[in-house]
Amino acid sequence: MKKTMLDMRVIRNKRLNPDHFLLELASPKPVSGIRPGQFAEVLVENSPTTFLRRPFSIHFVNEEEKSVELYIKRAGEGTRTLGYLEEGDFVNVILPLGNGFALPSSGKVLLIGGGCGVAPLLYLAKEAHSNHIDCDILIGGKDKDQISESERYSRYGRLHVMTEDGSCGEIGLVTQHPVVQRINDFSAIYCCGPEPMMKAVANMTRNSGVPVYVSLENTMACGIGACLCCVVNTNKGNVCVCTDGPVFKSDVLSNW
């Protein structure tokens, strides 16, 4: 799908837990052709301190209903303002941006999401399921409040849950989960979450030959490769997270 700027109507703004909410936006145009892992830049109105758009992973695409879902963490003034949007409000959105995840043609994949990093994985799981790729999904958070929508992930693969305090699923960090010890069973690993978590996963798989794809989140202005603000250092030098990413194979990233 070509990059487009749209006025989208809020059809759902649902509080999932104290930190996160789900914003579902109806598009005036078809939204087919959005790849899992791509993102949207949302203009925040009515927030004087929020000047730039805010980038969010696309959480899910409902092609028939022509809507997209964003899974948003309340992080600052901009995201708090978006949290107050009501059904029927309009928001200006640019999408789809970035490269997105590429799935293998067959085999098994493992999806690992930590905290807000689960955002792009639901649609990836659906895509894997549609392509008959066997999928293990591991999601983790600090506590049960950070684990939402378990039933949706379960539709597309085997769901494993882990929390740091054990209040939901197993206790510990996602990197300690048994499914991560079986890395050689997988054709590829897809990971999104806090950088230390993604780095740990990348390290554990370093000698296995199993590719790890991580989705990065850097401070961005334009989202379309014009401002050169969101760069990450790779084996090709500094590249834009917004256009060369946000998904990178972990072994191209410097100091990972």
Partner: protein
């Protein structure tokens, strides 16, 4: 329909709206959103003789009504521009202008001499005002002597329209403008970003890897407007105004202050259609005020 054409040096622009260097990529990034050829011109990303990696991340801090950047002229060098980018953008039906940078006068000359061969580059913008590089850049633009020296050197090797982009981080921008005018600049563009800084109180550290960066966006508009007004009165060559222009009304204000054309910068990051909407908005303004020519607005500030 009103006439939107303006002249800078020997060059005629179909309308007075250009895009500012470093905010519009090479135009290609905006093809999905607008017809780039509808603009008066585009000024592509700052180009140096050799590739530059730019500064480390983090390079940007958001502020109320603006942003601070410290990109540091990341670019793949003039040869990459000539071999790879130029063939992709020379077909735009608008003026493609290259923003030329260097650490030494020899660097500026090296870039310019290579660009002379490109017939679809009718003008260059000499950037003596980048605040984010250790050597060159703003260092040239903050004294009349060095501004004159680099302008004179480039004037000798660049036969077409020469625009010099000025830094606002000076005591008297009008004096700098006069000094580059005296060395043969065809126009001046102003302002580049304001030297500024952001601190994270929680971590007690600077936000940017370079500590300081350049402030842009609507927060600088009133100062930019004042500087454009001052410079327009001090020089005879055309002034291109920029600094926080977000819509057609902002652009009209710069024209009234004496700018012959404007550049749209940071606004491109918020809404990639801004520059095209400003062209339409200027036309609408002229109609509403029963004016037939944008020239009636330029320098038309009443007292």
């Amino acid at each position: 329909m009103a006439n939107l054409k303006v002249n800078i040096g020997n060059l005629e622009f179909k309308n007075p709206v250009l895009t500012a260097s470093g905010t519009f990529g090479f135009g290609l990034e905006f093809d999905d959103f607008i017809d780039v050829s509808a603009l008066g011109g585009i000024i592509v990303k700052g180009t140096t003789a050799l590739p530059r990696e730019g500064n480390p991340y983090p390079r940007m801090a958001e502020t109320s009504s603006g942003m601070i950047n410290a990109v540091g002229l990341q670019n793949k060098g003039v040869e990459h521009f000539i071999d790879i980018i130029y063939p992709l953008i020379k077909g735009y039906n608008t003026h493609v202008i290259v923003n030329v940078n260097g650490s030494t006068i020899e660097d500026y000359i090296a870039v310019t001499e290579k660009l002379v061969a490109l017939e679809k580059i009718p003008a260059i913008e000499l950037n003596i005002s980048c605040p984010n590089v250790k050597e060159g850049g703003m260092a040239f633009g903050t004294s009349c002597a060095s501004s004159s020296a680099v302008t004179a050197a480039i004037r000798k090797v660049w036969p077409r329209t020469l625009i010099v982009k000025l830094s606002p981080n000076v005591t008297s921008i009008a004096e700098i403008a006069k000094s580059v005018e005296a060395e043969g600049a065809d126009a001046v563009s102003l302002v580049n970003t304001f030297l500024s800084m952001a601190i994270n109180a929680e971590t007690r550290r600077p936000v940017l890897s370079t500590i300081t960066g350049g402030l842009s966006g609507p927060c600088i508009k009133p100062i930019a407007l004042r500087m454009v007004w001052q410079v327009a009165q001090a020089v005879k060559i055309p002034v291109i105004g920029l600094g926080g222009i977000m819509d057609a009304t902002d652009a009209i204000e710069f024209l009234l202050a004496g700018a012959t054309a404007v550049q749209v910068g940071t606004a491109n990051f918020i809404d990639p259609t801004t520059a095209v909407r400003i062209v339409e908005g200027i036309e609408e303004y002229l109609m509403r005020h029963n004016m037939e020519d944008v020239g009636q607005v330029i320098g038309g500030l009443g007292k």
